[in-house]
């Protein structure tokens, strides 16, 4: 495949509020402390909608807001790819708790928020864009799958694509079946245009490669805190402007992401 250019990054992770902070942490300019992601997240949602929105929806929308404010772009011209391992387990839990009450009082708002593409729907409304969006799920490899999908969409249409990857800590009793230690959300803007790009990515599917990990034990714990945090080695490489290839699990194969072309 042709190269794709990374235009902007947003991140919300334990101890990391945004990409600027992530760059300083990964370059070890400031110390890293793995504090839980704050309860309050800033999103474009109207206060009423925000109050009713689940944690997962808020996590996704917070990354969208961060990347929009950080790097102005024309929301009408973007394509949108959302990726989450399981969708919204908090809402699933709430609906299923209601299903077991007399009269099965399922909340209609919770039901329409339960669809896997709810964050995509809210984003299109918040940014007032009719551009297409897709919402995919790939269990543990959802980030790699989303990155590939966003790259394919951008290359096949020559349009810029916003990728949003997010997953929450699920509530019990689902947490024991899907153990996630921290909330995590990250967004990329990918483009076929190299102008003002952070770096160039050459993405391919490969086999027999070892998945990239972190030498620093704190960062390695961060990589393991949430399936979407498997992107940490890639973010670290970009923050430190290292020309090298990163490997992420992709179903039964691996995604190779060759990083190069940093501006000085």
């Amino acid at each position: 495949m042709k190269p794709i250019y990374l235009k902007a990054i947003s991140i919300i992770a334990p101890g990391i509020k945004n990409w600027k902070e992530a760059k300083a942490i990964f370059n070890e300019e400031i110390a890293y402390e793995a504090q839980a992601v704050t309860k309050k997240l800033d999103t474009f949602l109207a206060p009423n909608t925000q109050r009713r929105a689940s944690r997962n929806i808020q996590l996704a929308l917070a990354s969208v807001q961060q990347i929009c404010l950080d790097s102005p772009f024309d929301s009408e011209k973007l394509l949108y790819v959302f990726t989450s391992c399981n969708g919204d387990l908090t809402i699933f839990h709430q609906i299923n708790s209601a299903l077991n009450l007399p009269g099965h009082p399922v909340s209609p708002t919770k039901f329409h928020n339960s669809v896997h593409n709810a964050p995509a729907g809210y984003t299109s409304i918040a940014l007032n864009t009719q551009s297409p969006s897709t919402s995919i799920a790939s269990f543990q490899d959802s980030f790699a799958n989303g990155l590939l999908e966003a790259t394919v969409q951008s290359l096949s249409t020559q349009k810029d694509c916003l990728l949003v990857a997010y997953d929450e800590i699920p509530p019990e009793p689902l947490l024991s079946l899907f153990p996630v230690k921290a909330d995590f959300s990250c967004a990329f803007i990918l483009s076929t245009n190299a102008e003002n790009a952070l770096c160039r990515l050459d993405i391919s599917i490969t086999k027999g490669q070892k998945i990239s990990s972190m030498k620093n034990s704190q960062f390695e714990r961060l990589r393991h805190c949430n399936p979407q945090a498997k992107v940490i080695p890639l973010l670290h490489t970009i923050a430190c402007k290292e020309n090298q290839s990163i490997f992420m699990g992709y179903n039964q194969l691996q995604l190779k992401i060759k990083v190069s072309g940093f501006s000085q």
Partner: protein, 401 residues
């Protein structure tokens, strides 16, 4: 886009297992809807239930994947020589170059729902009984199908509510165009579960009688379950006079509301128009439109506006949901295959169960079935979150390639 051939396809719904059984029921005006008899749900509604699902036992090695949705996937794969077509494709392409792109809205969550019912008795969700990855997770469907056929290439599950398995045709096209796959299994599977039944009930969108799309007195939808698969290949890899082609797709967002479509159908118009443009056709060249036509008052009203805006009042349209119910995440693929069956057989289905057409509607909605030469069809799928997708299929006399 480069036109792709549907070199094999199969569909299983409440009106039958496999293409022939489904087509026979379409021709014979035989609905698959029955008064709700799903588990102990006390909902006064009608459902498109497939009884043969429950007797399906997944093959050895797939025990953990056993759940209603994968049972339905497995049942669907057994018709129309589909599995054999995949084996032939494997002889032609590398196993990492056959992609799997499937849509589902609720995967196997029924397994978790049933486990929750036991929680009342103080039990925990038992990971030995409830296989979260293989049953509950959305990706389970693609993982099961990929492993069942012993493939290892790109695999993806799209879950955009009721447009999910229309969008997989678009996704697979792009992966083939980028050279990541030579061929792709596309499709969708969605099965009955409590969340969708009670959820649509909470939104007051379930009809208490059989669904009557575009009827003056339509009261809402009937939920159905279904599976549908197709094998997509590049044109020059398997050309035949009888080939059916995917010529175009159109995708859009409403940017309006989570569970109501844009009142003027703007998102739907954008999806329909993009699909026709990509197919290099004009609206007049579309012979038949398989409508999303869920039979909710608002969907049908808005879809009619969109259709009238693009096609005027001549292009023949109908909804087949009176046969199958609304099969949610499977609807895109099911109705894509129904459209293809209509193309192949020069058959125009009417709109089953509809007695009196809503007189405020302006497009040419067929109530009765008939025979007519067909070369091009368009299929609509619209989902919650304002997610829209339209697909254009043609035979070798429809459109340019």
């Amino acid at each position: 886009m480069q036109a792709l051939i549907l070199s094999n396809y199969t569909v299983t719904t409440a009106i039958g297992c496999g293409n022939q059984a489904n087509f026979n029921s379409l021709q014979q005006q035989k609905s698959g809807l029955v008064a709700n008899n799903f588990l102990d749900t006390e909902l006064n509604t009608w459902i498109g239930r497939i009884n043969a699902i429950e007797e399906q036992v997944l093959p050895d090695g797939f025990e953990n994947y056993q759940c209603r949705n994968n049972q339905l996937a497995y049942l669907t794969l057994q018709s129309d020589d589909f599995s054999n077509a995949i084996e032939q494709a494997k002889a032609k392409y590398d196993s990492d170059k056959i992609g799997v792109f499937l849509g589902t809205s609720t995967s196997g969550i029924l397994s978790t729902e049933l486990a929750y019912a036991e929680l009342r008795n103080g039990a925990f969700l038992n990971p030995d009984l409830l296989h979260f990855r293989e049953q509950h997770n959305n990706f389970s469907l693609a993982e099961f199908v990929q492993k069942y056929f012993n493939l290892c290439g790109p695999a993806q599950v799209i879950s955009t509510a009721c447009s999910s398995s229309a969008k997989v045709f678009a996704a697979a096209s792009k992966y083939i165009e980028m050279g990541l796959c030579d061929a792709a299994i596309v499709g969708g599977v969605d099965s009955l579960c409590l969340t969708t039944l009670y959820g649509f009930n909470s939104l007051e969108l379930l009809s208490n009688e059989v669904c009557r799309p575009y009827d003056q007195n339509r009261k809402g939808l009937s939920i159905g379950e279904a599976g549908a698969f197709a094998l997509l290949e590049k044109e020059n890899d398997n050309p035949q006079d009888s080939s059916i082609y995917l010529l175009g797709y159109g995708e859009s967002s409403d940017a309006y509301h989570m569970s109501s479509p844009h009142p003027d159908g703007l998102g739907a118009i954008e999806a329909i128009q993009s699909a026709i443009n990509m197919a290099k056709l004009s609206p007049e060249q579309i012979n038949y439109v398989n409508l999303h036509g869920t039979a909710t008052p608002v969907n049908d009203k808005v879809e009619d506006k969109a259709i009238f805006n693009v096609f005027g009042h001549t292009t023949k349209c109908s909804s087949t949901k009176g046969w199958t119910g609304h099969t949610l995440g499977a609807a895109g693929a099911v109705e894509a295959i129904f459209s293809v069956l209509c193309l192949k057989n020069n058959f125009l289905p009417g709109t089953l169960n509809t007695q009196q057409l809503d007189e405020t509607l302006k497009s040419n909605i067929l109530l009765d079935s008939s025979s007519q030469e067909l070369h091009t069809v368009l299929s609509n799928s619209f989902g919650f979150g304002g997610n829209n997708c339209s697909l254009v299929f043609a035979d070798n006399q429809g459109g340019q390639r």
